[in-house]
Amino acid sequence: MAENKSLKLSFDVIGGDFERAGEASAKIKKMLKMIGVPADIVRRIAIGTYEAEMNAIIHAGGGNVAAEAFSDATVITVSDQGPGIPDIEKALQEGYSTAPDHVRQMGFGAGMGLPNMVKCSDEFDIKSVVGEGTTITMRFEHISEDL
């Protein structure tokens, strides 16, 4: 495709705001459905974005959730100026979580967020510096599987 047009959406999310948590992901999901990205891809994007959005809200005191949709792919960038992740290897392991008890009681903190992001995206990148923050980039190709 010769044209390189893209659509951007960007939302700031607030740390600890569980009431509005997931709104950014839901809006991104709606946009992607409206432009006709196949439903199974939209779903993977929504799941990955939601996990990253929740991490920014739970672990980083808030951040920014951004989507850029091209005709053939969508790129999600979730960034924060939170505490950063000291051991990324470990954080990427299934079941690893430092979520405090009160967050676990709400049903979060299963330690599956980062592993799920890796699983559902076609390209995954994480940059994290302790004391500076974390940026997650996920790329999703718009190639549909059978529903």
Binding site: M1, M34, I35, A39, Y50, N116, L147
Partner: protein
Amino acid sequence: MAPAEYFHSVRLLRDKCQGCVSCVKACPTEAIRVRNGKAEILADRCVDCGACASICPYHAFSIKTATLDGLEKYAYNIVLPAPSMYSQFPEQVPMEDIWQGLHNLGFDEIFDVSLASEYIAKEIETYVKNYTGGRKPLISSTCPSVLRLIQVKFPELIKQVVPVLAPAEAAAIYVRQKAEAKLGLASEKIGVWFISPCPSKETNIRQSVDVRQTALSGSFSLAEIYGKLLRCLGGDNTLNVVTGSSYGMGWGAYGGEISSAGLENALAVHGVDNVYEVLEQISMNKMPTLDYVECNMCERGCIGGCLTAENKFVAESNLRRRINILRSQEPVERELTMASSMTLEDFPRSAAYLKKLVARPMMHLDENIMEAMKKFERMEEVLYSLPGLNCGACGAPSCQGLAEDIVQGKAHEIDCIFKLRGSVHKLAQGMIELAKQIPISHEPQSLNAVEEDER
């Protein structure tokens, strides 16, 4: 691809519509617009849930169902009453009297759908317990409106739908096969009828989303049959009707599927808005450890359908009392209870009759993604310029809905009354400006005459 036209049992009576937009806001798929003062249903979006019919203060919707003279076309007629039917009567009215009443109305044979529900419950139980690997939770498939909502708004959830027949369909397959064998009649000579609490069943008979070929001849409105039944309940009670246990009876209200399938890590969701919200959450993977979600489009389950006669809370209480009476006579264990009622030979298994649920996404702005992206941008601009009050006066469900209609060329900015007022105001201002610029000296003497008159 998709059939050009969709059959709908929910229809608008234009003459009765007052254009109040109540229905526009109630519709879960944003399938209604008011244009030129009258509601219009967008056929490819409507899932026949009946939410519009339930809310319309002017009774401007009619639901197309079968009429009793349809029985004449068949040599033998079988009717399938469901728990929603029994719930319309207080528990003092014995089931036998209801069955006899149906017989008096002209049906030759009666089969109780609650028994079929137990076979379906077993299939659900087995499927849920053997499900491994795929995304969770699984979603129930016995409400046709929920299936249609998934096709249109949540096609990404199709793989999570449990592939089982709706109990009424399974019952119809069973009784039709039995009658053919017993009476030696051709299938075309046998009428099999459901008494439906909602429009979605009739739609699914005429144009099924889940079965290859329906065994049902049609469905009657529960409210209509109820009215006729009141006059002819009871009789000599010689009918031999096999019936289900309390577990099958439970299917009339929300929670029945879950309890009869013995599922503990499960939710029962009912009501249009609730179902929509939960499907949205499942789609975002917010409930990954839950096993099963039972979904009923109507509030409180089938007893809340818009074709019922009795208030849904009264109906629920009637039904729960019938369930309690049955339960007091049953073994404590669910397994034992269901085993003693499920004694039919060769009851059909769903897999042989089902077809694949297909996605029918309706959300996209254009077939071409580049075009859709351009339209999305314009839509956002338009939306930004609208007041954001979601008042519905434009006839669209929300400002977002109007913005969408505008970029699709189906509506105009001044359909928004605030935009219209703005435009009128601008126009009026313009006229004043214009009037000021017209040189007085060009006016004829009569102007002076008027001024003199006024003095």
